[in-house]
Symmetry: C2
Subunit: 220 residues, 2 copies
């Protein structure tokens, strides 16, 4: 099946949304927790969280221009400069999904979606207690994306909280099967993970690039 | 387990890389195909592809500052303004993974990693023939990320090629279990997908936000 640019443009809106949101492949499902200056908590599901660097430890996510629910997240981050990122786990997918309904500013998604907030000392934004992987960040940079009015929000990692049950693959890498972390496909399909391969870290590989042709022949 | 910013800073480099690359959750595994002005093809695996919008259809990905392999990708995109994004499928994970080795500019990863190129009429960059989901894009915008020297590369979708075997969930949304698309955790763990939930599109939900408290009570 081949869709050209014109054919994509001509699709009905919902079909185009579904196709375009699904063709990039699996996306992480994360809940972003924030606190407003006046003390209201907010929680919103995002599928655009992306790793940017390890030293300093930076994480970014994309804020769409026209989404009422997600504007609370941006407003709160601008007001209080901090936010949390919390993995969605398979046992609370539905609660996480419905944070994207159109709640009023004073209606906390924690209450309306039956999720519990969790706090650590000297750090104000709410984590999601149910989440096995919780990250606390400080606003670092907001980059406007001229192409379509999105904003790219970048935070520096200040806290990483991992549930005791989580195992590491090699040293430092979280096992995402183990942590029950889910991914999103398109707008509303949720997936759990099956680990199928654990390959050598390329920079530490014992096979040099120029030998790869021989490497495949040895494998046959 | 709680890591603070200082403790993260003090981890050894590899452990910090592994932890920071894995805590954002599952990432899509995609091969980006490009062509240089002088006619060399290049292929590189990326885990930072992100949906930006559907109309116009825009997709972005993050280019790290210090990676020799991936610089070919950027140079080629600057030279010829086009690139392809191709899902990594479970049957060629290893080949895709090793595109991140340090090949010379004139060594095509297609040859060295045993993957086949595929072309369509009037469109120059190479697709990956083995990939069940192929996207052809035109460079739209390059955004420097001041925080750490990364670049955010944005392309507009010009072609979407889907294998005949792929089914849709609802109208337009690709079934990622069906397409054998894989995700990456951390630097080198690969996962396939298990669909666990298909929830109503929030904007079309029949339950208003203000009724969500009752919604959960009905579910118990």
């Amino acid at each position: 099946m081949h869709y050209t640019k014109l054919e994509i443009k001509d699709l009905n809106r919902i079909k185009r949304l579904r196709l375009m949101n699904s063709i990039t492949g699996i996306k992480s499902a994360n809940l972003i927790g924030t606190l407003s200056e006046s003390g209201n908590t907010n929680l919103a599901i995002f599928s655009s969280v992306v790793h940017l660097g390890s030293d300093p430890a930076l994480i970014g996510f994309v804020m769409r221009p026209n989404n009422n629910v997600k504007r609370d997240t941006l407003n709160n981050i601008l007001e209080t400069k901090h936010f949390t990122i919390n993995h969605v786990n398979s046992n609370f997918v539905e609660k996480a999904h419905y944070t994207s309904l159109n709640f009023n500013e004073d209606q906390s998604e924690f209450d309306y979606c039956n999720l519990e907030s969790f706090y650590i000392d000297n750090y104000s934004p709410p984590f999601v207690k149910e989440s096995k992987v919780k990250i606390g960040l400080k606003l670092h940079e907001i980059i406007p994306i001229k192409s379509n009015g999105c904003k790219f929000i970048i935070g520096e990692v200040e806290h990483v909280l991992l549930d005791d049950g989580i195992n590491f693959i090699a040293e430092g890498s979280i096992d995402l099967e183990d942590s029950n972390s889910v991914g999103v496909g398109g707008l509303n399909s949720y997936y759990t993970m099956n680990k199928i391969a654990e390959l050598p870290f390329p920079r530490l590989s014992t096979t040099p690039a120029s030998e790869m042709n021989k490497f495949w022949k040895r494998k046959i």
